[in-house]
Symmetry: C2
Subunit: 320 residues, 2 copies
């Protein structure tokens, strides 16, 4: 059995590929390498069960041809669609970024799956589809869905297209909605930013906002574990699950202090104003993973431990 | 004050344009005339406060240029985005239809509005965004949203893009979710189909399905009345309202019998099998308009009267 992964060279892609290979599956990966890198895939590329093709999914026939080639050895029966824009602020400034990289990648992936008869789809959706629900716990069937970023909008658009496809040709769909995921290979995010800032301006870490913004963080190793659990255990045709930590998260202040402690203990921290980093960022939300817990999975790490582990890994990554 | 209407030559577009002109507003309309027609606009085109330009919104710069021309006389301050595919089965067969006509029209309209500083948007959404909720009453904030047609998916995708735009540059958004709307100028739908079938095969009306499929129907005159009511009364930044009849609707059998009664009383009716006409059609749903009633609007006609009125109008339309 072969599995296609789109966006395989990205942060989540690399980790999913490693986990699927570890299960003895053949993995065929594609990526346009716009944000993902070959360096991220260095371990994968040595594995004989891994094949990689650089391509832009939104170019006509590029993905179709690659899949036809991949399938000559062994048919692809399942797709993990992870390709997306990961720079949310970029998509707020320019809606075309998320249209192309977050939505049109989904649309074209579905078209190719339909043509090739691939009927199982795992999709990396996002907590950003929910928009701002204040202090109401975000369960999977909450409404209304009013995303405040183009990223969230195009993830919701992708879910909608997948839902319609589940009515016509898909037999299995797993939609994973996750908030902030951390770990390595880190390609973006607040921790990597902090490490870079400390490298650039030794002795001082300048933080955007007043540091009170609070979010839940999940380590990528746990994310992958949860996704595979859902894939194996969920029975609904449209299996939609929140994946996240079981707590209300940690503040930016905590992350700043931990990063300084690990990377540069003598540096001082300077905070800005306000608790919202950029347009499209939901300042605080309560994320329910009760549905996932009922399916039998719960995270082992809390946000604190996940952040501490990821900071150590990211500092090490940036030193090599 | 000038108002832009996309899809102005379609069924809903013509009726909205007439209502806005009746309020003394200047209306600038665009349409690609793929489903809408100049004949539909015959009354509008005689009105000096109405301007029309044939164009495809999804062609680069076409809408931008037209809006710049329209604005030379008087600035456009508001847009009613009604352009969309109206042939739901066509979009089920080929996802590209709803991608282009239902979603990309929204995306490009938003881009042009952003460029020209038009900050008020009324959008014709659909009950199809909800998917199948069985016997649960469909209120505006129900979840999950799992559309089963590409039409519903691309309407939901449009709502998502509008929601994100409301966070960045739109000041007012009115999202109208309506189910089956009937009346004239009829361009598609079950009643027009029945009238055409009777013209083609005199003496016999063949019905797709067993006739037990039940739906609520709203007359277009009431739809327009409700939309203008919401535009004037709703205060939320993202004002989302179901619009529909206050009852559970009528069966296809009732519509068939009424059409025969008006158009060809001697014809017999032959029914098919099953209660679902085509993939992507939700067989029966309970549509709540409680939110709209709280805003002070309720339909005057029930589904029965709306259907009877529309059939008389459509039979008359097809005789001229």
């Amino acid at each position: 059995m072969s599995i296609l992964i789109t966006g395989v060279a990205g942060f989540v892609g690399v980790n999913v590929a490693q986990a699927l290979l570890a299960k003895g599956l053949r993995v065929c990966g594609v990526d346009n390498l716009s944000r993902g890198t070959r360096k991220n895939m260095s371990k994968l590329l040595k594995n004989p069960n891994f094949e990689f093709k650089k391509l832009d999914i939104t170019k006509p026939n590029a993905l179709l041809k690659a899949c036809q080639q991949f399938s000559q050895q062994e048919a692809i029966t399942e797709c993990w669609h992870l390709a997306a824009n990961s720079d949310i602020p970029a998509g707020v400034t320019n809606a075309a970024v998320d249209l192309k990289d977050t939505f049109m990648t989904t649309y074209h992936t579905l078209e190719v799956m339909k043509q090739l008869g691939i009927t199982k789809l795992a999709f990396a959706s996002s907590s950003a589809i929910y928009g701002d629900h204040g202090s109401t716990a975000i369960v999977e069937d909450i409404g209304p869905l009013l995303p405040i970023s183009n990223y969230g909008a195009m993830k919701l658009a992708s879910e909608a297209a997948i839902s319609a496809a589940a009515e016509s040709f898909l037999t299995h769909t797993w939609i994973f909605r996750f908030p902030n995921v951390i770990g390595v290979p880190a390609t973006h995010g607040v921790m990597l930013d902090f490490v870079h800032k400390l490298q650039k301006t030794t002795g001082c870490l300048q933080v955007l906002g007043n540091g009170t913004q609070q979010k839940g963080y999940l380590h990528v190793e746990e994310l992958v574990d949860a996704m595979l659990w859902i894939r194996d255990k969920a029975s609904e045709k449209r299996a939609i699950y929140n994946i996240g930590p079981a707590d209300e998260g940690v503040t930016v202040k905590f992350i700043a202090e931990e990063t300084v402690r690990v990377a540069q203990p003598t540096a001082r921290i300077e905070y800005g104003q306000g608790n919202r980093g950029w347009v499209g960022d939901v300042p605080r939300f309560v994320y329910s993973i009760e549905k996932l817990k009922k399916l039998g999975w719960a995270p082992k790490l809390g946000s604190i431990q996940a952040v501490q582990k990821a900071i150590r890994q990211i500092v090490a990554q940036e030193q090599t």
